[in-house]
Structure formats: structure tokens, C-alpha cells
Amino acid sequence: MIGQKVAAIVVAPADSKALVPICQKAAAAGIVVVNIDNRFDAAVMKDKQLTAPFVGPDNRKGAKLAGDFLATKLKSGDKVAIIEGAPTAFNAQQRKAGFEDAMKQAGIVIANSQSANWETDQANKIAAAMLIAHPDIKALLCANDSMALGAVAAVKAAGKTGQVLVVGFDNIGAVKELVKSGAVLCTVDQHGDQLAAFGIDYALEMLQKEATPTDKETPVDLITAETLKK
């Protein structure tokens, strides 16, 4: 792409470190580089002297939104558990941190937190074990909706529907009915499908204005049974 002399590259890196050097080459060739979805590692960027604005959602803020909403349904001192995404993923760590922020603020105790690697089946098994080991937990906060589906099935199998609330993240189509019925209390929409468009818009803006690039945060929205009615 550098060879093709494109004007801008919008990159959603799967690895936050490995793609930095090549993007630095592009930037050196006068190409506008915009980083979306997964943020480049700050230390590596500094080392390679790459400046590329990050356009994307604040996962921690999104998770805090969902956690805050859950907190309105619980009281201080209640216990909950977190089902994390893949331990190595930056957004998984951010979402966990956001859930923790909200629980801490509301005085809710996190009795347990384990990774289910973003997967429905693993989440189902971990949630089932959590419900046995911590029979008094009031909610399961899941770092994505696929895992929330597994948690909902575990809650149902344990006969605790209604007693244990489930929180998801991503607003995938599969949870829509469950949010409406209350089986999933809420989820968070980061408008992932529009992320590339946000990135391209921003790259075009940079090309026109030639201003110093700054990071741009994309919207995150809380999705509940109420918001789906609208």
C-alpha cells in the first residue's frame, strides 16, 4: 500500500505491537495513519517515533456504564462475579477494569473473576461453577455477549433465573430478545460496525485540515430493555 502511494491508511491492528514498525514506514512516506479498534502500544509507538491518532471506543467507560446500571438494581454489600475475555486482549482488560470501577463505586463486592476467553461454552461452564461456589452472588458481569449467553444458560440450568442478573457487552443481534425479556439486564453498543467508517472520516478530515492529529473517542451506548422499546 505504501508502494501504491495511498493518501491514508486506516489500520485495525490484531496485535498492538507488531504492526507499529510498518505503520511508521508509511507515516515516514507521508501517508496519514489512523489507528482504529485496538490501540497501538504506547511504548512501542514512542520507540518507533510513530504518531497515529487512535479512533475508537473507551472500553473501560463502556463497561463502567453497564456496571453503573447494574448497581442501580443491587445494593451496597451485594456480591457479583466477572466473566472476563481473553486475558491477553487489551479490551478484555479494559472491560474488566470498567466493571471493577463501577462495583467499587457502588460498594458491591466482586466475589470472583475468571476468564472464559470470549467463548459461550467456556462461560457456561465457568458461570455454572461460580454459581455453586458462590451461591449468594446476585449478578454475572460478562465482557462480551457471547459469554453472557453462556451465563444465561447456566443461570437457567441452576434454577436461578431472576435471582442472578446477567450483564453483557457488544450488543450482538443474538441478545436482543434476551435484553427485552430481562434475561440479559443490559449490554453496551460500541458501534463496532461503524468503526472503520469513523476511522476513514477522520483520515479524510486530517488530509483536509493537515492539523496535528489527536485521539478521537467514538460513542458507547448502554442498551437496556427500556432503550430497545424506543
Binding site: 459461550t120 461454552d121 455453586i132 444458560a153 441452576a158
Partner: protein
């Protein structure tokens, strides 16, 4: 019974040890709920591992079963949601998918004289790709229709558990009491000898891979039923835990020796371990370390006992 105790003594001992350790560490582990939960999580892993036992017995390997499980559950989901087919028909489509692709694995292995390792490694990728294509990489929520599969049951144990248990017993009888079963052992012992003594080697191989595929298909069905949804990532890495279960159960990786009952115990060990570690709240890195350690340890214990029995 006495014979079974002798054969699986080491494994049952290891399992008792595992349960004892978890019971000591967690006050909630030694409860009926734990064991019902574990039993109801077993079916898919059991079915896939039974198929894997057959394949390994004839000296092959099937790395595609996890992907076939995912593909079958995706097909089931689409048939229910998009085509609005009734459950029995959708289930048939899902299982047939596994059966046909499994058969294709066998056919390619036999006709092209390729190692099953390579053929099924290719299928692992291809079937997962097909699953992502079909589902657009999206999880499908199936809800009510598919949950019928887990309704009913006896004593808190869901129908899939009973189906899986029946499959284990049936497979064990087939292996030990039928010509088909004896032919599998013969084929695994020495393909040359089996061929010369009139065993229909090619047909048998294809059939075994088709059976493994079909069992993965049933696994996909039960997986979807337990989760009320079809996850395009369902069954990722399952081939490895199935192989682990088979080996823990005492089946030789070079073929010709082993049993389905042993495999079932192997699945139990792995599932108990998973639930116990999760109840203790052990974090992912340590979980993986311990799971790997227990797999190797269980096999070492079993081999020690086996070599003693021979001596």
C-alpha cells in the same frame, strides 16, 4: 466389574484423588449440584471422545471434530432460524453434515493414501471457515425450540447425558462383542495383517471417520441445546481435549489397544478438573498449567500400572 476395576484402577484412583483434593479446598465442591452440573456438561465431550477412540484405535487421528461440532451447530441454527424447519429435521441436517464431512475425511485418507493427520488438519481449518461463512461469524440465539432437547430427563440429569451414556455403553459392546469391533482392533494392530485376513480395510476406515463426524454432529446438537445458542467458535480446541481424554483412558495412540469405557473416565477427569478449578476461582494461566500437568500425570500413572501388570 472386578475386571473393570483392575483395568481402570489407576484411573479411578486418580479421579478419587482429584475429587478429594477439590473437596478439601472448596466447601461447595462435594455436593449433588456439582456432580449434576458436571454430568450435564459431559455429553458433547463424551460423544466426540468416543468417535476419537474409534479413529485412534485404527491407528488414525481426527483433528477436525471440534470444527465439525461447530459447523453442525451452525447448520442446526440456520435451519431453525432462517429456514424455520422443525427441530427433528434441523437436527438431522446438523448431524448429517458431521457424518458426510467425516466420511469425506475417511475417503480422502483412503483414496489419496494421505495421513489422516493432514487430511483432518485441513478439515479443521476448512470446516471452521465454512462455519464463519455460514453464520457471518455471529452467534445465533436459538432459545425455545432447541431447549426441548434438554427438557425432561431423570433425577436432574438431562436427556443428552443419558444419550451420551447409552452411546458409551453401546460403543463398548460394539467394540468387544461384534465382528466390526474386532476388525477395528485388528486394523489398528496391523493394517497389513488385517487386509490379508479379509478385513475390508478401506470401507472400515471411511466408516470410522464418518462415525466420528456424526458423533461430533450430535455433539453440536447437544452443545447448542445446553447453551440455547450456536456459537461459531463452539468446539474450538475440542479435538485436543478429546485426544487427551482418549489417552488418559488408556487407549494407545498407535492404535490396536484401548476402550471406550476408559475414554469416558478420561472425559470425566478433564471435566471434573475444569469444574473444580473454576469453583476454586483459579486464574487462567494456572488453570492451563494444572490441566496440562494432570493430563500427563494421569497417563504416567496409567502406564506405570500397565507395565506392572505386564511384568
Amino acid at each position: 466389574m472386578k475386571q473393570a476395576l483392575g483395568e481402570f484402577g489407576g484411573l479411578l484412583g486418580a479421579m478419587a484423588l482429584l475429587v478429594a483434593v477439590f473437596a478439601l479446598r472448596s466447601p461447595t465442591f462435594l455436593t449433588p449440584t456439582t456432580f449434576l452440573t458436571i454430568a450435564n456438561q459431559l455429553p458433547e465431550a463424551t460423544l466426540v471422545a468416543v468417535g476419537m477412540t474409534f479413529v485412534i484405535l485404527i491407528g488414525g487421528i481426527d483433528l477436525s471434530v471440534g470444527s465439525l461440532l461447530g459447523l453442525s451447530s451452525a447448520v442446526l441454527g440456520l435451519a431453525l432460524l432462517r429456514c424455520h424447519l422443525p427441530l427433528p429435521l434441523a437436527a438431522l441436517l446438523g448431524v448429517s453434515t458431521g457424518f458426510l464431512i467425516g466420511g469425506l475425511n475417511g475417503l480422502l485418507t483412503v483414496r489419496l493414501r494421505l495421513p489422516s493427520f493432514i487430511v483432518t488438519l485441513g478439515m479443521l481449518e476448512a470446516a471452521r471457515g465454512a462455519t464463519y461463512l455460514l453464520t457471518e461469524s455471529r452467534t445465533q440465539y436459538l432459545g425455545g425450540p432447541v431447549e426441548k432437547l434438554t427438557e425432561g430427563g431423570i433425577g436432574g440429569l438431562t436427556p443428552p447425558f443419558w444419550w451420551a451414556l447409552t452411546t458409551v455403553l453401546l460403543a463398548q459392546v460394539v467394540l468387544t462383542k461384534t465382528v466390526f469391533g474386532r476388525n477395528l482392533y485388528a486394523l489398528g494392530g496391523s493394517e497389513q495383517t488385517a487386509f490379508l485376513s479379509g478385513v475390508p480395510v478401506a470401507r472400515l476406515k471411511i466408516l470410522v471417520f464418518a462415525i466420528a463426524g456424526a458423533l461430533a454432529g450430535f455433539g453440536g446438537l447437544f452443545n447448542a441445546a445446553r447453551l440455547s445458542s450456536a456459537d461459531p467458535n463452539a468446539g474450538v480446541g475440542m479435538e485436543l481435549s478429546a485426544i487427551a481424554a482418549v489417552v488418559i483412558g488408556g487407549t494407545s495412540l498407535t492404535g490396536g489397544r484401548g476402550s471406550v469405557l476408559g475414554t469416558f473416565l478420561g472425559v470425566l477427569v478433564i471435566t471434573i478438573l475444569g469444574n473444580g478449578l473454576a469453583q476454586l476461582g483459579v486464574q487462567e494461566p494456572l488453570k492451563r498449567l494444572l490441566t496440562g500437568g494432570v493430563i500427563v500425570l494421569a497417563v504416567v500413572l496409567d502406564r506405570l500400572r500397565y507395565s506392572k501388570a505386564l511384568a
